[in-house]
Symmetry: C2
Subunit: 427 residues, 2 copies
Amino acid sequence: MDIAEFRRRGREMVDFVADYYENIEKRPVFPDVEPGYLRSLIPSEAPVDPETYEDIMKDVERVIMPGAASPACTELETVMLDWLGKMLQLPECFLAGTDGQGGGVIQGTASEATLMSLLAARCKTVRRVQASNSQLLEGEIFSKMMAYTSEEAHSSVERAAQIAGVMIRKVPTDDTYAVRGEMLKKMVEMDKAAGLIPFYFCATLGTTPSCAFDHITELGPICNDENMWMHVDAAYAGSAFVCPEFRHLLNGIEKSFFLLVNRVKNRADLIGAFKVDPLYLKHENQESGLVIYKHWQIPLGRRFRSLKMWFVFRLYGHKGLQSHIRHHVTLAKEFESLVRADKRFEICAEVILGLVCFRLKGEDVLSENLLKKINQKREIHLVPCQLSGRFVLRFAVCSRTTESHHIQKAWQHITQLTFEVLQVSNY
Amino acid sequence: MDIAEFRRRGREMVDFVADYYENIEKRPVFPDVEPGYLRSLIPSEAPVDPETYEDIMKDVERVIMPGAASPACTELETVMLDWLGKMLQLPECFLAGTDGQGGGVIQGTASEATLMSLLAARCKTVRRVQASNSQLLEGEIFSKMMAYTSEEAHSSVERAAQIAGVMIRKVPTDDTYAVRGEMLKKMVEMDKAAGLIPFYFCATLGTTPSCAFDHITELGPICNDENMWMHVDAAYAGSAFVCPEFRHLLNGIEKSFFLLVNRVKNRADLIGAFKVDPLYLKHENQESGLVIYKHWQIPLGRRFRSLKMWFVFRLYGHKGLQSHIRHHVTLAKEFESLVRADKRFEICAEVILGLVCFRLKGEDVLSENLLKKINQKREIHLVPCQLSGRFVLRFAVCSRTTESHHIQKAWQHITQLTFEVLQVSNY
């Protein structure tokens, strides 16, 4: 959507909202639909090609308004996350379908998704341990429970463990910054020998520092053998799996319990961890077997974020989403080539998606000074990371409007500042 | 703002956004402001009288745009929550000010606010216990920790305890559905005698079922004596304290650590519970002593919700907010009089703010049938509760547009359906 169309559609939307308020008293205060009403009103998969804005707005009146905010909010979300699951070619067990045991949920943030999966795993483990030793108190079990994640994992994993009150260990990575099966296995065995209870592993597909991919085909079977819950954090890389050429990076997912973009294999595991049902939250359809998201998350309230997904999936189509991803990857590769052609720089990690990790060869201080200059100029903005103990710059392509000329301009700008940095350091 | 103005302002806002995108490349990618820049650009208190929309939009360009999303988002939030704190006449220790130790934060939901305070209290308690017995593991301490809340408290308090992995006890209430000091004291003493560690009490000002007010003037000193953190959940009633005639309901707040609407007395208690600082989240001003919200909440990301507060506070003014609250209370009292004048009904709890709890005298089944009929007709919508073991209907005034004629019409509707219910039950 270009800016002129945005203005037009935006004004239409303001009128849509105003008309709604103007006529709100003519509408019933409560919807008159049966649980599950929405699924049959829309296709079971995202469109391949883009649809028009008019078509979608017509469907808002036909599909959403009869179910108002609730249950339309829940039901559209369930179907949208099935659409997404199918685009990602997830195994059937992760879909809600009409009678599946899995399903997706939009968590407020990636941090909350990781926390939710950790809490569900904690609950499952406590029950399992108490089944064989009913004398043990919950807290005593907590003090022996050990979670694991990559040393390259996002900080939210460590925070989730702090919140849940369990220990967490960082698993070392190989020279591509990925966790391999044997590294996890070794740690788990040591901890078991010390009387601890390994129960959770958070794998990352697309780490924050360098977009590395943990080897989940190796890690999944180990987790299964050890009664551990494997959670897969694909908060960044997940959307790339709509392209078949990247889908192999997700192989092994069938062994995980929870995929962050955001999906669970067995709903009951989540619900079991949190169900509290006071009278003011009871309703007549609560035993319908349909998805009820209040047990899948920390807050009770929810935003209607699936409405945005519905618009995006239909305005882009599966093909449009693929070209969006491919465009970003192409731009990142373009930047990578520019870096590689300059002998003063080195690439620090394989460029798989939209992230390029690079640095000036030599002492860290050079790259640190370069970063300082770049961010002071405020033409582009970079966030650093550490890889193998060295200071690394991260060039991330993530804006919807980035084009080749931006990449070229950014590189020109960086090389100009590099000149200044190296000149000073030569004195 | 009426609907005609909403249309006009809405279109202007769409153009504002479109213009922003159209010119985004002319703007620096990173703001050039010093930490704390925003506080001096705006008044230190909310205006008494309403301001115009034009004035506010002018300030968006002057105050917000130079600080863009960040740090403007954080800094406006700190100041807006000070504005709110002053309107609520909170003790100085709850304000951020320029060098205070307290301050407010907008949590995603009330559930998250309660969870955050519970986690902070848990962390503080573990440190205290370990200081006198460094051998004890965290999990061993958890298994002895006891939280308390009213039997009338919101379900999110019980969930917070589940998530944090600590026990929770429901404190019985008096005949006004409020917790008194002696009831808590008795429980705490029993638990201490049994070797448990009481550490947290969640008081409620305005319970969900009946809008009851726990006696925090009695409860606060007990919590202080017992080294317990008192959290005050005023998620519903909190906004009423902008009116001096309701402010006395908040007396005793100086003894609490955390007030949900949403405020903490000592930031360090929160930050201590969660600080994880990877390189990609470090920045040069992180030791500035200013508010950094990422440690105050579960998610890392934040929405710019203080912008809405800024608009609301200024468009209404302190006086406008007061009339809004008073209008709702007046309407609830109007409904109460209608119920009291009808001998078939009884009022089940004192009407203090916008909630009226009532029921048909006699067997529960009558009120249950009435509720069923009301919600089937879909003209108005009521949510029930249980008080003293009896089924009770809750009439809540909460829409911005509710007027006296809605109350009259709703009561007419209810009495019509009551006629039908009682007719059937007479057969």
